[in-house]
């Protein structure tokens, strides 16, 4: 699926634009602060209807503006698709329209289009806290599988209700939310473990291909038995007293982690910065493959300044692996064309003062 036309209004520092997008993608060139990353962010917005940098919609809105509008016209094998999102700062209202019809719930529009973004902060996938890795899993699996997204949102809703009952010290109400928590939570754990079966070997292979010595290992850290709903009552019973004391649910996939190892050592604690960077890139490559396989079509690829930190050899390998315009659309940012790895020949857009020009 390829982006054919993009419409952006009121989004960060970007000037209002309505542009046709080349089939192979584009290299977005410009000095920092001119709007390259903002443009990537706008392009990604119709994927999750959330900023890829995790910013709130109010922050994404152009300073002092009434809101923003982003629309993506897509070409798929089956035909065309148009996704539009409009955010109104007054009342914090978001309207999402797919092919002219407003969707009732955000979840109905998530995953109509898929893209994978590589960002400079991605190294935190290997070096940072577990929350980043859970976010990685949840975002990827939600885009790969609608039933995972549905289970995840039910799980979050049940968790919020249960935690609220815990904070109020109402044990009899806490128990009422055990069943929906277990039913949805088991699907979430099952989804993650199912993904890991294929992903572990892929991760090792990607890491080796990036030239990293030592075997890469991907492990699920958490309560794998909770993939079975029948295991939940006992787990919740065991933690009930503690949960009530803390006002928090302490059992479940919202506490789990994905452990990355190279050569038998846990990367988060013992990896070098170089290893951590490679492992984070390997995870993103697994995400790309996972989505391509699950959806039967290549997701678009958004690369924000990811080559700068790599040495020449790693740059070349990664660019060769990722930038294949004949199979997928790629958007890549760099300050200047000569800072792109050799061999990348994408149409160039210059981004200056929030304005993109070919």
């Amino acid at each position: 699926m390829r982006l054919e036309r993009v419409v952006v209004r009121g989004f960060r520092n970007l000037e209002a634009m309505e542009r046709d997008v080349p089939e192979e993608g584009a290299a977005l060139l410009g000095r920092n602060g001119q709007g390259k990353t903002n443009l990537l962010e706008a392009i990604y917005y119709p994927v999750l209807f959330r900023s890829l940098r995790g910013s709130a919609d109010a922050e994404v809105t152009a300073f002092g503006g009434p809101g923003f509008h982003v629309a993506a016209q897509l070409a798929a094998d089956g035909g065309a698709l148009e996704i539009a999102a409009t955010y109104q700062a007054a009342g914090k209202r978001k309207r999402i329209v797919v092919d002219g019809a407003e969707v009732a719930r955000l979840a109905d529009a998530v995953g109509r289009w898929a893209a994978v973004a590589f960002l400079p902060g991605d190294v935190a996938l290997a070096s940072g806290p577990a929350s980043g890795r859970r976010q990685y899993l949840d975002r990827m699996l939600s885009l790969a599988d609608r039933s995972y997204l549905a289970a995840l949102s039910r799980y979050r809703a049940a968790l919020a209700q249960r935690n609220s009952a815990l904070r109020q010290g109402r044990g009899e109400l806490v128990e009422m939310f055990d069943a929906p928590l277990a039913a949805a939570g088991a699907v979430v754990v099952r989804g993650r473990l199912g993904w890991l079966e294929g992903a572990a070997a892929r991760f090792a292979a990607e890491l080796a291909a990036l030239g990293e010595p030592g075997e890469g290992v991907l492990r699920y850290h958490g309560a794998a038995p909770l993939a079975d709903p029948a295991a939940w009552p006992e787990a919740l019973e065991r933690t009930r007293a503690r949960d009530l004391a803390r006002g928090l649910t302490t059992a479940g996939p919202h506490r789990d982690d994905l452990v990355l190892e190279v050569g038998g050592r846990e990367l988060r604690a013992f990896g070098s910065t170089g290893q951590q960077r490679s492992a984070a890139i390997a995870l993103k490559l697994v995400e790309l493959d996972t989505l391509a396989e699950a959806r039967g079509t290549q997701p678009a690829l958004l690369l924000d300044d990811v080559f700068a930190e790599l040495d020449g050899e790693r740059q070349r390998r990664l660019a060769a692996r990722l930038v294949q315009p004949e199979i997928r659309q790629v958007f890549v940012t760099a300050p200047r064309a000569d800072e792109l790895p050799a061999g990348i020949s994408l149409p160039r857009w210059t981004v200056e003062g929030g304005r993109a020009s070919a």
């Binding site: 109104q88 007054a90 009342g91 209202r93 719930r105 549905a150 039910r154 809703a157 049940a158 919020a160 209700q161 249960r162 609220s164 009952a165 109020q168 109402r170 109400l173 009422m176 939310f177 069943a179 929906p180």
Partner: protein
């Protein structure tokens, strides 16, 4: 605050009406013949004065008890439990159900500070015990909170000699009964399942 601004503010409090729409409605009303807006104002006054919950079932009514509770052709042994009064009209219109209703006035939601004591659950148990109810049909909304509320009531009634059923699964999850199409709702009622 001026009169115009006051009306805009009040209209904007209504669900689904933003400030822009409220302004449009206000200016529309101002362009109507005088009698028209007075009739609307009187209708609002009348609703506020005369309409209140039925003391038996909680449905909205002008008389006590409500027309449904008074209707002798309705089967008093069949009781349909709904979250809101608006669902009474929805179920009555879409289905063949001709028993009585019980309006809870919401659903269990700790996040909104709503526990069983905030709902008309005690009144429900009393009616089941005193009115010779044979079957309670739990028609709470097909949402997580609606399911939880249904389970809570089922557990409460399990010790009593009453059949407790739930609308058949297959209603779109996360929604409100009001958004379910009539045919689907009627089918879910016919295919209701006993909870144990």
């Amino acid at each position: 605050m001026g009169a115009i601004e006051e009306l805009v503010t009040e209209l904007a409090r209504l669900p689904g009406i933003g400030r822009k729409t409220a302004q449009r409605l206000t200016y529309h009303l101002l362009q109507q013949p005088a009698g028209q807006t007075s009739r609307l104002a009187r209708a609002l006054d009348a609703v506020a004065e005369r309409v209140g919950p039925c003391e038996s079932c909680g449905n909205l009514t002008e008389e006590q008890p409500c027309a449904i509770c008074r209707d002798p052709r309705r089967d008093a042994a069949l009781m349909c439990v709904v979250e809101d009064a608006s669902a009474v009209a929805v179920v009555d219109r879409a289905t063949e159900f001709r028993g009585r209703y019980h309006v809870l006035g919401g659903r269990l939601s700790p996040l909104d500070g709503i526990g069983p004591e905030a709902l008309r659950i005690e009144a429900l148990v009393r009616r089941v015990r005193e009115d010779g109810v044979r079957e309670v049909i739990l028609a709470t909304n097909p949402s997580m909170e609606g399911e939880v509320t249904a389970t809570y009531i089922q557990q409460l009634l399990s010790a009593m000699a009453v059949r407790v059923t739930r609308l058949a699964r297959g209603l779109p999850m996360g929604g409100d009964l009001e958004y379910v199409d009539g045919v689907t709702l009627a089918h879910a009622l016919v295919a209701r399942q006993e909870l144990r």
